[in-house]
Amino acid sequence: MIALLLRDLRLGVRAGGGFGLGLAFFLIVTVLVPFSVGPESGLLGQIAPGILWLGALLACLLSLDRILALDWEDGSLDLLATAPLPMEGIVSIKALAHWITTGLPLVLVAPALGVLLNLPGPGYLWVTVSLLLGTPALSVIGTFGAALTVGIKRGGLLLSLLVLPLYVPTLIFGAEVARRGAAGLDVATPLTMLAGITFGVIALLPFASAAVLRINLR
């Protein structure tokens, strides 16, 4: 399993894996927001937590089809399926690799982009914490979507249509933590809800992803 993780990480970081693309997309979305709503710093500071969450979510969505599609095309997924490794383990490792190469960098650059959007002082901590807690859920749910659409040619748009409704609870609680944190309010309730969703999804959804992948490999 560790070998598979290292392999996926190496493939993700090296050329062709699209490692920097998600980050660049996140940066561009953040830069475009002031152009569209105006450079007023009060307004920007108010919507900054939500924009950062939305940008991170879209950047995450953009890289989902890379989780399984390349392995599906060159047949390594069939080899992995016959390996002495449960399918649940494979999809969990895939999600973990996706999180390390996409989610974690997004979390790390989010505070820097917060400066551009005039994020209020206490917001930096809570935006980072909520993204750190929420992005694993985005990766795991995204892996489920990627497994559903892996056999479909040009399934990118369908993947977005399937995955975005599933992202709703994570986005609501994550952005709520960031918003309340930035406004200096109590964050305990949405934070525990976000943690509940993330850990619940990590515990249960790999079974569904594995079942779906088995059907697709049949």
Binding site: F144, L148, T149, G151, I152, G155, L158, L161, L162, L164, P165, L166, V168, P169, I172, F173, E176, T189, P190, M193, I197, L205, A208, A211, V212, I215, N216, R218
Partner: protein, 249 residues
């Protein structure tokens, strides 16, 4: 005693539904016409809401059926996963567009009702928002059915999507409840004791009786449409099989 699983046989299913369908359709039309005409023309105007209250005869039944259609798809998906009856998978597929249309009807009539009552077409209220999310789930489900060519794979994948989607739809329901406070009133039609004559905060019998008739009409209409669409799906699949066989020979 005939078992319900007999209808897993497509021939038996088509034969039985063929016999039932004309009666069912007629009953649906009659109850709908009676319920809606009674509701629209023979009930008094509400003293505060005026005649806009009559949208209730479309809004409430459509909203009920939007949720129950998803539940029916969930049950049919479970039956497909457990017992691999093709009719069940096709029934789930047949119900999805009907449910989606019911969701749209509920949303549109709600907007038409909200404009004079709340002064706004749309409000990010938990009930409205979760219906919009339900509509997105229907869209994704239908898109996945349409995108996969192999029938069994499509049935398997969509039924798992239906199970996972149901869980996420419920979580979303509570999430949006947490996220914003509501403008929409609570359930006042089906409240416990409504039929028993408890007069606190419920829909008066003058409005409730035609409403129940319309609800019955929507239920019958939904069943008739699902039967009809399932028959169509079965026949379409049979045609495809025949064509394939002809090409082989």
């Amino acid at each position: 005693m005939a078992s319900i699983w007999e209808y897993a046989n497509p021939v038996k299913f088509i034969r039985t539904t063929d016999r039932v369908l004309p009666w069912l359709s007629a009953a649906a039309v009659v109850t709908l016409v009676v319920g809606l005409v009674w509701g629209f023309f023979f009930t008094p105007d509400d003293y505060r809401q005026g005649s806009t209250v009559k949208i209730i005869y479309l809004h409430v039944p459509a909203a009920l059926m939007a949720i129950n259609a998803w539940l029916m798809m969930l049950v049919a998906s479970l039956i497909w996963i457990v017992r691999r009856h093709h009719v069940s998978a096709l029934a789930a597929r047949a119900a999805a567009p009907v449910g989606a249309v019911m969701t749209v009807i509920a949303l549109v009539t709600g907007a038409l009702w909200g404009q004079p009552m709340w002064g706004t077409w749309w409000e990010w209220d938990p009930r409205l928002t979760s219906f919009l999310i339900l509509f997105l789930f229907y869209l994704g489900y239908m898109a996945l059915w349409a995108a996969i060519e192999d029938d069994d794979t499509a049935a398997d994948l969509t039924s798992i999507l239906c199970l996972v989607g149901s869980v996420f739809a419920i979580i979303s329901r509570y999430a949006v409840n947490f996220w914003n406070q509501g403008l929409h009133q609570g359930a006042s039609v089906m409240r416990a004791g409504a039929l028993a004559g408890d007069t606190e905060e419920r829909v008066s019998n003058v409005f409730a009786v035609p409403l129940f008739v319309s609800i019955a009409g929507f239920v019958l209409l939904f069943i008739a449409l699902v039967f009809l669409r399932t028959q169509t799906e079965i026949r379409a699949r049979r045609t495809r099989a025949l064509l394939a066989r002809e090409r082989m020979s």
